[in-house]
Amino acid sequence: MTQTSSLAERRSARLAGAAPGPVQVRRSTADGDVIHIVQGEQFVSEDPNICIATLLGSCVAACLRDPVANVGGMNHFLLPGSDSPRGEAADLGIGVHAMELLVNALLAHGARRERIEAKLFGGARVVAGLTAVGEKNAKFAEEFLRREGIQHVGGSLRGDARRRLQYWPVSGRARQVFMASTAPELVARETKPIILPREEDSGELDLF
């Protein structure tokens, strides 16, 4: 299976579709079509042949699906570390927004909140100095599901290793490969947390 794409490709893909909506970098393989997402993106599909893939360090990917509506999707977010200048509430807001966007996208495809099953991946302790970031992300994701009453049916959080994650959103099957800690593009990304791109008008009042 070919799933390699350069960081430059991913970057340009992210910029091309920064906001709003997901970027679609589709690669067709013998196993079906693979959609790669990066931090700040999400992808939702009703196609059983589609696989969503991402690379995770201290970031978290939430994989959600409704087994009755046959729709599912994945997001990929990173709450900044404790030295973030934005403050705790604003940091958590990044995660809340990422999760709400994914849940709403599923609902728009006929999913029902009470049927949604979630798997959580990532939140690893990967870089010295960012030790608390993975834990913060993992804990946020678990608490979000608990508070929202969304079933947490599996996944793989924490640990020391980066993950290559694949998720089939219709069947809910997930596969992860732990990666060597020296993968250069991941080190580059981990040491430089990206803040979610915000839509320009987000938070502004539009009066009718």
Partner: protein, 121 residues
Amino acid sequence: MSKIILTVDDSRTMRDMLRMALVDAGFEVVQAEDGVQGLEVLTGAKPDVIITDINMPRMDGYGFMEGVRADPQHRAIPILVLTTESSAEKKMRARDAGATGWIVKPFDPQKLVDAINRVAA
């Protein structure tokens, strides 16, 4: 006397974030989990401003706003829609249902407070 804000959102996390932001700003907050509950608490709550999500189970934001406006007593309460949606079509539908304004999530606490004060004035 502090203004009373009714928030309607199906996400517990979002309700908690809204309550925190609005109570900190000196408002009194009443909360509902969907449009049905929003209409149930409306008369007793006597809100000065309503903030509602769009995507909700049982009764969505459009149905809720139509329900609010159907009662002559509640024709004039400002309603702000706070949603992840930003399409022109949905905005128009909200306006037709009786919305006063539209704010795209993620919300900024200070901008939200400013918006409330602006429509409540």
